[in-house]
Symmetry: C2
Subunit: 344 residues, 2 copies
């Protein structure tokens, strides 16, 4: 088949059905049938028809869509379609229990979606929640979605996770490293890379220009050098360099007040220096209803911030808000990139 | 004169009027005339009659109380009284501007209150907000209230700052140190000391027994050793030791969710490993309306968490809530200690 044109009327999102023991199937069924999502994008849903049917039952919705059995069968202008890989009968899965089979199912769906986006058949990848324990049972070297994405794509591109509430983004310079190792990773280059990536991602999502705040590393942002000099020697010069590139960025701000200001609307994004600097704030603000964006690849990948929610799986009570926000953000970013590609 | 008996009916609080260019004088006038405060404690207010009169004018309250001119003139059973040191005419102070004279005024009041508590004439010290810049103009080596308190008292006692919202306390193992130096300061001894001090302070404030949560140091509390081993090698053993001492303490918890749980009522206090781990959370939760307790001295010292608020000083609009909470906490802790001393 020929590539789906990214400058077509609607962006195409590849949607992987996530962990089958969690809320992934019911959330997939609900976003597929959501009128706002259907208006915003065409979906290539990747999974198993039986798993999706069960999700639709749980969700109490009726899913009607074209079905094919391999991404090779996709035709141009396909509209919303299910790629039924026929790889999991849901009767073999216990709801609320992580399993190797469930992990393998989600992993195959995710890989297929990444490959669809890599060849341009989709403009973005989305997925309903994975379960990391299940993923690791199926693929022991599985670290996180960014690592797996890089593995499938064979890329070393600087990718990073963004945590997104409706009007507030959080990105970070370092992530899953011991706190004792953070300071050594804060360099002019790493801070500048973080600012550039946040700026580009916010622009793709329609912020023009994005207003970015950078947190300091130390208490009181170093208090003029009294509690650490990274702000003076590293972070401030990186901010100045970014400003010279035309990026609207300020800081470094004291880490304990920057989110108070951001929640009042002062900034669109806060770049933090380490994992908990942002996560403590975002989880208190209510990030579980937010969206995780994996930025820095050639296409955006979006997922709800919450997990597979085994405790409420199969009850039909999972909130669709974060999943819907994830797909709408992906659609917006894919459309923007499609227009840029078309104009180029 | 003889010592005020700490087992008397009401606890006695020494209240230092804070920076005269900020909201300190008007807040002092308001707490002095507050019926709930008057019912809970007798106050020895330390400052200058003219500064307090101006504060009363701004606050629109009428202050009537006995006046003496030195703490040596205090008599037993004095009730609420002003120690008028006659050391500042407020006409020499510009509202909203830090000055050496203002700093010297607040510093002298603070020192006098500490000395009153040290000899047992007061059961606790309180102060309306200081301005650190002004304090440093008057006393260049002034670092913070704990350092100054230790200087006046000639003590090396392990004192620590607690940040307190109505039902949630935050204490920390390290404070104003560069982030790069935090991990080296996390030892079994320092964590255990932090747990003990938080437990004792919460008990003094009436929590019986206090429920304490300890945050991990690393992202995801180390994720089983994947992102740092301090949780396994240092924090967990300290928690176990504290448990053996009968302290109700749990952890280490992932730093990015422990405050979400605490705000839902799971714990009375969260002990964090470094400054911003707690401050990011507490400031988002609304700590500016809270109380700062300097714990670990022979008597508690309490102050509102907010600062001298130069922007609203003299307008009579400063909120009394945090100051009132500070004095009521001090009264409660002083009364508890007075009863303990009487029983000993």
């Amino acid at each position: 088949m020929t590539d789906v044109k990214l400058d077509a009327r609607k962006p195409v999102l590849a949607l992987a059905i996530g962990d089958p023991a969690g809320v992934g199937p019911e959330l997939a069924a609900r976003v597929i049938t959501d009128p706002e999502i259907r208006a915003a994008a065409d979906l290539i849903v990747v999974g198993d028809r039986r798993v999706l049917s069960r999700g639709a039952e749980v969700a109490g919705v009726k899913v009607a869509m074209d079905v094919c059995h391999s991404s090779r069968e996709l035709r141009d202008g396909h509209g919303t379609v299910l790629v039924d890989l026929g790889h999991l009968d849901p009767v073999s899965i216990e709801v609320g229990v992580a399993s190797k089979e469930g992990g393998a199912f989600a992993l195959k769906n995710f890989r297929t979606c990444i490959e669809l986006a890599a060849v341009g058949q989709a403009g973005a990848v989305c997925f309903t929640p994975f379960n990391k324990a299940a993923m690791r049972m199926a693929h022991p070297s599985y670290d996180d979605e960014i690592g797996y994405g890089a593995e499938v794509l064979g890329t070393n591109a600087p990718a990073s996770e963004f945590n997104i509430l409706e009007k507030l983004w959080n990105g970070r310079v370092t992530s899953h490293v011991p706190l004792s190792g953070v300071a050594a990773l804060i360099t002019r280059a790493s801070v500048l890379k973080g600012i550039r990536l946040m700026n580009a991602s916010l622009r793709d999502a329609g912020f023009a220009p994005p207003r970015i705040a950078v947190a300091g590393l130390n208490p009181h942002a170093g208090d003029g050098g009294n509690f650490g000099r990274e702000e003076i020697e590293t972070i401030e010069p990186a901010i100045e360099e970014a400003k010279r590139e035309g990026i609207k960025v300020e800081g470094p701000f004291p880490p304990d007040t920057v989110f108070v200001r951001a929640t009042k609307g002062a900034f669109d994004g806060v770049l933090t220096m380490y994992h908990d600097q942002g996560q403590i704030a975002m989880k208190l603000i209510g990030f579980d209803s937010g969206v995780t964006l994996l930025g820095g690849f050639d296409f955006p990948m979006c997922t709800p911030a919450h997990g597979s929610a085994y405790d409420i799986a199969g009850k039909g009570i999972a909130n669709i808000g974060a999943s819907k926000a994830a797909l709408l953000l992906a659609a917006k970013m894919a459309a923007k990139r499609g227009r840029q590609a078309a104009a180029a």
